[in-house]
């Protein structure tokens, strides 16, 4: 189980972070994912790759978390301030964080299905067939969601460029 954790913790964390979970709650959701993985591992039949299987659990855990958060009417609260940039390396990190934040905000404009496809294909660089398997949808559906997600994200980013 440790090997599985080590091999997948980064991917799970990244997925959770980009699927709309507040930063402060990412560790909790990741914990829930790995507890579920541990609990269900004996029933893993190998019909998909282990990676797809874990992503599937991650998706469902995040969806359940979002529903719970919505019922509690939770809104993302202000994140703690970042430390002031100190040197070019730190500055580079701050810029990278800003870019990530911009992308996260844009992803918030997508529906859950489009967002999932976009995150798996564009950020995790999964193959489209694997995306479809993970999300349990026909591959054509995955393609059309990707298409719609790209259009939406581009519109949002284009709109942010000033007028």
């Amino acid at each position: 189980m440790r090997e599985i954790y080590e091999a997948h913790v980064d991917d799970v964390w990244r997925t959770v972070a980009f699927l709309g979970v507040a930063k402060s709650e990412v560790p909790d959701v990741c914990q829930e994912v790995f507890l579920t993985v541990y609990r269900r591992l004996p029933s893993f039949e190998g019909r998909s790759s282990l990676r797809s299987w874990i992503y599937g659990i991650t998706m469902r855990t995040v969806a359940a978390h979002r529903r719970r958060a919505y019922r509690r009417r939770e809104r993302p609260h202000a994140e703690p301030p970042e430390p002031e940039p100190n040197g070019p390396d730190q500055e580079h990190r701050v810029i990278a964080k800003q870019r990530v934040e911009q992308l996260r905000m844009a992803l918030d404009g997508l529906n859950e299905q489009q967002r999932a496809v976009f995150v798996l294909y564009e950020i995790h660089a999964m193959k489209m067939s694997e995306v479809a398997t993970t999300l349990e949808v026909p591959i054509q559906t995955a393609y059309s969601r990707l298409h719609a997600a790209r259009r939406a994200i581009r519109t949002l980013f284009g709109a942010e460029g000033g007028q």
Partner: protein, 315 residues
């Protein structure tokens, strides 16, 4: 079927963001804290992070560092603590045959998970029943960022609280079928005055911008109360405010305020504030614009929108 090229490989506007996103992951500290909450990952004696020895692995060992900024994980975390305390040799769970204490421990985890995982089941069913969308569909389904189920629950913010005006657009119910909504998504979706011709023509063809055509910008300076819009999702409100910024700044401001009222520090809070500041500036309400800009810079001191706001105020 050939895989489409990924945006990170060719899209200048997005490649940087996506590459940065690919670097996101837990820090070493976050990784260690997470591992400490997973009973089956209790470090073996002498292993990484095992400086406290094998007597008290897991959350109790990490508590001094973790307690400060974690709010607790409720039932699951409690289960993890029970597990760790009740099974000091929980790392043995990695083995094929779990000891009796581990079985008990697993039961606790399962009991904890059942209450939460039960909510996952509908999502699986939903996924398997999901509508097959046409790959050639040109209507992006982006104006409803919340799931349908969530939309149903959003009835606490009724559309009817608006004081309608002569430009009232009939508001479809949240349960309106997709086909019915598709035209209104164009009306209130994230389409800016900068969109391409085709989209613009589609909007005009759908007759959704008649209000903007009929009303000259000068008539808008005192307008405060937004009329209902078809889709009150967060994105739709901001997009609608953006579209009206030039021609109807007061309406744009009202929509931005409406967004603030409903979504507070939501996903597009910064964009909303920029829009409101620009609308105020266009309405010659410069004092208010400057006050709002000050609040913005206090709240988001390093926002990428800072330069834009400065430019607006210097006009």
């Amino acid at each position: 079927m050939n895989e489409p090229k990924r945006l990170a490989e060719f899209d200048d506007a997005l490649a940087g963001e996506i590459r940065a996103a690919r670097e996101v992951g837990p820090t070493e500290e976050e990784r260690a804290k997470l591992a400490a909450t997973l009973p089956f990952l209790a470090p073996p004696p002498g292993g990484p992070g095992g400086s406290t020895g094998s007597s008290a692995p897991g959350p109790t060992g990490a508590a001094p560092a973790a307690a400060g900024n974690t709010s607790g994980l409720g039932l699951l975390k409690a289960a993890a603590v029970v597990l760790t305390l009740g099974a000091p040799a929980a790392w043995l769970l990695q083995g094929e045959s779990a000891p009796a204490s581990a079985s008990t421990a697993q039961t606790v985890v399962e009991a904890a998970l059942e209450s939460r995982a039960s909510e996952s089941v509908p999502s699986e069913t939903t996924a398997s029943r999901s509508v097959v969308e046409s790959p050639t569909s040109e209507a992006p389904d982006i104006a409803s960022p919340r799931s349908e189920a969530e939309s149903h629950e959003s009835d606490a913010e009724p559309v009817e609280v608006f004081i309608s005006d002569e430009r009232q657009i009939p508001a479809p119910s949240a349960r309106a079928p997709r086909a019915r909504r598709s035209s209104t998504e164009h009306a209130e979706g994230p389409i800016t005055p900068r969109v391409g011709r085709t989209a613009r023509h589609a909007e005009v063809a759908a007759g959704v911008e008649q209000d903007e055509v009929e009303e000259p910008p000068s008539a808008d300076t005192t307008y405060e109360e937004p009329s209902p819009i078809a889709d009150e999702s967060e994105l739709a409100l901001v997009a609608s405010a953006r579209r009206r910024l030039r021609t109807q700044p007061a309406r744009s401001l009202a929509l931005a305020n409406r967004h603030r009222e409903r979504f507070g520090n939501g996903a597009f809070a910064q964009e909303r504030e920029v829009l409101a500041i620009e609308a105020l500036a266009r309405l010659d309400r410069r004092d208010e614009a400057e006050r709002r800009a000050e609040r913005f810079s206090r709240q988001w001191p390093r926002s990428v929108h800072g330069a834009r706001i400065s430019a607006i105020l210097q006009r």
